[in-house]
């Protein structure tokens, strides 16, 4: 198997020749002489050297990336194979010599150009300036990014795959060509189409280069936002549990002696947690059923007797239903005060109006024997309901009491008064 094409640590400039020699299986000296000769042939060697320098990873870079990604493939040259083990101290040395190497390379390029002109090649200096500017700019920009980020950029641009690499290079070439045409286009300003072509090429090139990055960037942003939302939700749940459940548990430990308090706390917490877990916020309408549930919860909290509410249907609040809710509150309150135990509340509501049944398992009382001066039942229930067109039926026996409240809703056509 051939040695993979990697920039060697045994470097004069950047280890390109040594790496190439190892890869091709010829002597380093021969490679360097060949490269120098190429440099003299119109600067081809310089181009080749620069190209390899940019694109061929060092053994160090390769080792770092080797296990996870398949490595840089240069067309059919083939870079496959296992990562090569190297001594780690070499990169530092290579980096120290990099600035000198760059200056040297620049000088070499200039020298090569002069030599080429001496040999008779006609160099259009008008072209050299923009090409040089673009090249220097690219090198500067590239060297500003640290190695890992550079690898990341290559990864993101898809430059690891041959297709992505081709797209990247094509894009860059288009950008450069566009820039060159624009710069040198000063000679032929009149030719509008060439300017348009140049602009198109520039835009196309930039788009081609940036599209995958932009896409990747967008995806990263989306992923991060989703993560943030999850994090916020988690924090919200944690905060809620802390404020409610943990506080209640602490309270319960404090009041462990009082069974009544413990039951009351547990009930209230259960109700609160339940509404938080199962209630649909969209359904919390402030309608009649919610109002009755709130009333039940309030009395349950004050008296410590469980109040179970079963509701069927719902109706928007209206002045009449407000009266109904107050009457229902009075009925539940009476049950909690006088009967105790579990109180069942059943409400049914719809376009017809509402019905509420409040049932307890107390000892019961004689409805007719309630003295007329007892304000509770007479005023709060009978009179109040009757004033607004509702009815009250109380049935009581030794097995408990049931209060049945009914409040018809106004017909929509009926005049209000």
């Amino acid at each position: 198997m051939k040695a993979p094409l990697l920039r060697s640590n045994d470097a004069v400039i950047a280890g390109v020749c040594a790496g190439l020699a190892a890869h091709l299986g010829i002597s380093i000296r021969a490679t360097r002489i060949g490269m120098a000769a190429l440099c003299l042939a119109g600067g081809a060697g310089v181009l080749l050297y620069g190209w390899l320098w940019l694109l061929v990873p060092t053994t160090e870079e390769r080792r770092r990336r080797g296990t996870s990604s398949p490595g840089l493939r240069l067309g059919t040259t083939g870079l496959a194979g296992a990562a090569v083990d190297t001594a780690p101290e070499v990169t530092a040395r290579a980096r120290a010599g990099r600035r000198e190497a760059l200056i040297g390379a620049a000088l070499l390029v200039v020298a090569a150009a002069f030599v080429a002109q001496q040999l008779g090649a006609s160099i259009q200096w008008g072209w050299v300036l923009p090409v040089g500017a673009v090249a220097v700019g690219a090198v500067l920009a590239w060297s500003q990014i640290d190695e890992s980020r550079r690898a990341g950029l290559m990864d993101r641009a898809g430059a690891i795959q041959a297709g992505g690499m081709a797209r990247l290079i094509l894009g860059l070439v288009l950008v450069m060509v566009g820039v060159l045409i624009m710069v040198s286009g000063s000679i032929s300003w009149s030719l509008t189409w060439s300017t348009l072509l140049a602009t198109g090429a520039v835009l196309g090139g930039v788009g081609l280069v940036l599209a995958p990055w932009a896409l990747k960037f967008w995806k990263d942003l989306e992923a991060e936002r989703a993560g943030r939302i999850r994090e916020t939700e988690r924090a919200e749940i944690a905060a809620h549990l802390h404020d409610s459940v943990l506080q209640t548990l602490a309270l319960i430990q404090n009041r462990a002696g009082s069974e009544h308090d413990v039951v009351r706390l547990a009930r209230a917490q259960e109700r609160e947690l339940r509404s938080w877990l199962y209630a649909d916020t969209a359904r919390q309408t402030g309608n009649f059923a919610d109002r009755i549930k709130a009333v039940a919860a309030e009395i349950e909290d004050s008296y410590g007797h469980p109040v179970d509410v079963v509701s069927v249907g719902d109706i928007p609040m209206s002045p009449r239903q407000e009266v109904m809710a107050q009457a229902a509150r009075e009925a539940v309150l009476n049950a909690a005060k006088h009967a105790g135990g579990t109180i069942s509340v059943y409400l049914e509501a719809g376009p017809f109006g509402s019905e509420v049944f409040v049932r307890d398992r107390g000892r019961g009382f004689d409805v007719d024997a309630v003295p007329a001066d007892r304000m509770g039942i007479r005023e709060s229930l009978y009179n109040r309901m009757q004033r607004h067109g509702g009815t009250v039926i109380i049935r009581s026996s030794t097995e408990g009491t049931e209060v049945k409240l009914r409040m018809p809703e106004e017909k929509s056509g009926e005049p209000r008064g």
């Binding site: 079963v310 069927v312 097995e399």
Partner: protein, 216 residues
């Protein structure tokens, strides 16, 4: 009511299982306990209990909880009845487990006496409706006895509606019977009929209603 009744208790909380075991009537024998869907299916097949006390939310299996256990024991459904227990009031949970084949549904907060009574009732082939389940039924089938619905399965008779309303109001079966001047046996028949309708009805309101409650 005098005979011994064998049960398997399925719940993922050991504290709840032991508490329930202690609370149950002395005529009820706990054959085994299980904490996951797989354990439950294995234990039920091994012990063949008369009644399974089944938590709606269970770990294991494909995440189907109590309904998955019932689905895994379909060939035993004649000999074994399932009574669903839950802390959840969500309509979705209740309706799912009932439609899977449970004979009743009670919340975990009810007393040992009540739960024992529910076990006896389920063991004798009747259905157990808590006030809340009755409320769900009324909500799903509508509170008016509509005659214009296609299938008999898709509506409740006037009598069944009355029974459901009374149960939702907190009446016991006995009290319902006295209120309507019918026998307890008749009440049980009505409740079983409602349970069957709840299980078999393809009434689109039922599914839509459950879906709405869950999704909103």
């Amino acid at each position: 009511m005098a005979e011994e009744i064998s049960v398997v208790v399925v719940d993922d909380h050991a504290i709840f299982r032991s508490g329930l075991r202690a609370d149950l009537d002395h005529r009820i024998t706990v054959l085994a306990e299980a904490a996951t869907v797989e354990e439950a299916i294995a234990a039920i097949h091994q012990h063949r209990p008369r009644v399974v006390l089944l938590d709606v939310h269970l770990p294991g299996g494909i995440g189907g909880g109590g309904a998955e256990v019932i689905a895994g024991c379909t060939q035993l459904l004649g000999a074994t009845s399932f009574l669903a227990l839950s802390v959840s009031d969500s309509a979705e949970d209740v309706v799912t487990v009932i439609r899977a084949g449970a004979r009743g549904y009670v919340t975990k907060t009810i007393s040992g006496t009540e739960i024992s009574a529910a076990v006896f009732r389920v063991a004798s082939g009747d259905a157990v409706f808590s006030p809340r389940l009755a409320g769900f039924v009324l909500d799903a089938f509508g509170t008016a006895a509509v005659a214009s619905v296609d299938s008999e399965l898709d509506r409740l008779s006037a009598r069944e509606l009355e029974v459901m309303r009374l149960i939702a109001r907190g009446y016991s079966y006995k009290e319902v019977a006295r209120e309507l001047f019918i026998s307890i046996k008749t009440v049980e028949t009505h409740v079983s009929a409602v349970l069957r309708k709840l299980q078999l009805s393809s009434r689109h309101e039922l599914t839509r209603w459950a879906a709405e409650r869950r999704l909103l």
